[in-house]
């Protein structure tokens, strides 16, 4: 298996890379200094646009495109780094922040220079106390060595970065939910339009990027857009951090080029399933991605387009392997409980729909299911999707239910007919 090129994890295994000095030894902040000293902000935006870099948080929206929406002349702009990472099955940002915090900071300096914004915040989820300490230590070091604060590296550009600690709400991973949470209110998403690029944090233009998206920027600046295009597939270039979890021999985070076959990820890198378990299904891109049956995973390559073709999505790249010792109805009950607990309660379809789906799945699980429940679940999930609510959580809640009930219908029918689990 040829060694795959590493971008974000290229110096992951160097001891205490957390320290600024060690990070600079391995080429750290050269890209940032090059950019601040030589290139103009617009060129960076065009460079990132040509590189075809797409957001790594889950939506997969073109980063260059997102930056270009920000009005140039606005006096005050913000860059928010979305480190909320609430998507179950995803833990890539935690490793990035704990072990290489400087890569994120360097990426933020480049991004802030590109959109000319003087202030940036990192919204970290409250549970990641280790990451918060690592980031704050890194920021302290940078401000001491004038890598942050007033006139960075002696250039006229000045930037200060602060860490904002979240308090445990999956909804604050959504762009506008994060913004409202930072404005001191409940983390409830804002009605769009206006989009955050026009009126976001404190009604000022705001760009919200994921930790991994920012960590990739230094490599693109140093090696240019076309080298980046060479890695990965034509439409989704570059590498992606995949988080393998579930009953596999060696779960963990692996940096692989997009378009990497899923089968190799599970069996070669992941070492196959533990014990004599057989593969039953895979959730490819975090909990909200529709599930793939075992047959589909065999032929699947991990990139935005091929997953979308099958009706699933790459999302945040959290690959959750499900073995044949699990009952799908039981898993769906856990999933629907998650979405009912995390729905922010602002829009009616999602607030009531998630609660309703959970109760219906629970009644099937506890042998109170009726034949009418399966079409009911399908109807509820179809009528929660398709822009019916302010943010995408209702689609994220409906997709697993719809895919579980359609692709593993016989398990649900078995539960309803025979009033017990098929295991």
């Amino acid at each position: 298996m040829t060694p795959t090129p590493k971008i974000v994890f290229q110096n992951l295994h160097i001891p205490n890379i957390k320290k600024l000095a060690v990070y600079r030894e391995h080429g750290g902040y050269t890209a940032a200094q090059k950019v601040l000293k030589e290139t103009k902000p617009e060129d960076i935006i065009t460079l990132v646009k040509n590189s075809g870099l797409r957001g790594r948080g889950g939506a997969g929206f073109g980063t260059g495109m997102k930056w270009s929406f920000v009005p140039k002349d606005a006096p005050l702009k913000y860059l928010l780094c979305n480190a909320d990472e609430g998507e179950p099955g995803t833990f890539k940002d935690r490793i990035l922040m704990e072990q290489i915090p400087h890569s994120t900071l360097e990426g933020m300096i480049i991004a802030c220079y590109a959109i000319q914004c003087p202030r940036a915040y990192i919204y970290v989820r409250g549970e990641y106390t280790e990451s918060i300490e690592a980031l704050e230590a890194a920021i302290q070091e940078c401000t001491k060595n004038n890598f942050l604060g007033k006139n960075i590296f002696g250039t006229p550009f000045s930037l200060d970065i602060h860490v904002f600690k979240g308090a445990g709400a999956y909804i604050c991973g959504e762009e506008t939910g994060l913004v409202t949470s930072m404005e001191g209110a409940k983390g409830q998403p804002k009605v769009k339009p206006p989009f955050p690029a026009i009126s976001g944090f404190n009604k000022k233009p705001t760009v919200i990027n994921n930790v991994e998206t920012l960590a990739v920027l230094p490599w693109i600046i140093l090696n240019g857009a076309d080298n980046y295009k060479k890695i990965g597939t034509e439409k989704s270039p570059g590498t992606k951090l995949f988080c393998l979890s579930g009953p596999v021999k060696n779960p963990g985070t692996y940096e692989l080029p997009l378009g990497f076959p899923l089968k190799d990820l599970i069996y070669d890198i992941g070492g196959g399933l533990t014990g004599n378990l057989k593969l039953k299904a895979v959730i490819p891109g975090g909990l909200s991605a529709p599930v793939l049956t075992a047959e589909e995973t065999m032929t699947m390559t991990m990139d935005f387009e091929s997953l979308a073709k099958v009706g699933s999505m790459l999302g945040s790249g959290g690959v959750i392997v499900i073995a044949n010792d699990q009952c799908m109805v039981d898993l769906l009950s856990v999933i629907t409980y998650f979405y009912k607990h995390e729905s922010c309660g602002q829009c009616t379809p999602c607030r009531e729909g998630t609660g309703w789906m959970k109760k219906v799945v629970d009644s099937i699980l506890h042998q109170r299911g009726r034949a009418e429940d399966i079409p009911l679940l399908q109807d509820i999930s179809t009528n929660m999707m398709g822009g019916r609510t302010i943010c995408a959580l209702s689609d994220a809640a409906a997709m697993p239910v719809k895919s579980f009930v359609t692709k593993f219908k016989q398990e649900f029918e078995y539960h309803i007919k025979n009033k017990r689990c098929h295991l």
Binding site: V191, S343, G345, T354, W356, N383, I390
Partner: protein, 496 residues
Amino acid sequence: MTSHSEPKAKNPMVKITADGKVIEAPKGGNLLKALLDNGVSVPHYCYHPGLSVAGCCRMCFVEVEGQPRPLISCNATVTENMVVKTQTETVKNIQKWNLAFHLINHPLDCPICDQAGECGLQNYYMQFGKYESRMEEEKVKKRKVIPIGDHVMLDTERCILCSRCVRFFDEVPKTSEMAIFNRGDRSEIGTYEDKALNNNYTLNSVDICPVGALTSRDFRFKRRVWFLKDIPSICPGCSTGCNVTISQDPIEKRTYRMRPRFNEEVNGYWMCDYGRMRYKHTHRESRISTPLIKKAATLIPTEWDETKHELFTIFKTPASQISVLITPQYTSEDITHIYDFFTKTIGTQNIFHCADSHLASDSTVTDELLFRRDKNPNSQGLLKISAHYKLQEQNLSLFQQKLKSDPWTILFIFGPHDLEAYPEFLSWFKENNSLKTKIYIGTQVKHQIPLFDLLLPTLTFIETEGTFVNFKGLSQKLSRGVKLIPEAKPICEILC
């Protein structure tokens, strides 16, 4: 919550077509407001023209040509020749399903809910719901019957979390007393630790609540709304002159509540709690029901024709002996009739009124929004009419001096309906009873004391037609409701 500032008329009007009908709307204005103003009925709960846009009830979906998916019209802006369709299949299906989501955890409280008959959920269910409920599971139980303040009763289980009341208390009285606690379908509306709401505009939240989550404690279980008839009128509580709708039961002849009516320059969509309780002084039990005459220090109910006879003898006395005192709580028409009658037919000069000119035109607001210090609805009207008749100066202080110095033999008093305006009214006439006869024309039973010789019941603001002139000089029309006291007569019939 993005707040759409309503573009005033200065924005150019643009043509948009809605369901094939071409309508005019201000460019850049709110699409839903444009549709509703032109009679296109689009279901909505959280949108209220006087509040900011929340966009969370998801009922106002419409299809706009050029947009891939239906979008909520309360957050959309009107653009040049936009084509809007509100009756397509997808929109209808969305409305039906969103209504279903609203109703699955809604308690079956219709028999005991005051909002029944004007409830948003009932209206839309009858309009496009009409489906068999597929919800067989347990409903989410929440706290019920929580009094928050002396006017409002809260029921968190009925609440559909449209956040209108939260936005109202944030934006109008700006006290931010209400909030939505917890998260997801355990979210509950309420004040901090159920503390009472203490501002003068709490009952507005009851009007704008589309369901029975917030109900008025004063109207609680009194009457069903489909028995009530609505009468447009003006609030007599103070000189602001808010436009109101009075709800009366024509069969039981009783008034039950007052609600604000939209008027752009006077009171917008709102009204104060003090004004809402003004209908109370029109109830039978607080009114003089028959004409009364004083015989041996006690008041005896008499017939109208006997008082007619009494009045004729009084009118024969020489004009200079008769004087009149008017309180500014009557309609302008009544006041002109009083002035006409006494200056022309009787010919007396001493007509006095209690309107205080500098207080009447004082526009400073004493509470958050609307309430003004002058508690009389028609002071400006009275002042204008008295100036018209060019009698010499006749304000209250002058009347009291004159009363002490050379009292007349006969005094006509047109008493106040709302006693809060003149709490010490009776004390004016106590000291000197050298005055021969005092004829009191008014409504309140509290003034039914042997101090006066003749008491004649007249009509309150709900039963008369006429105009009130507010502090800015804007005269506004009252319309007549059901006559609550059969014996009471309008001013024009008493003085003829």
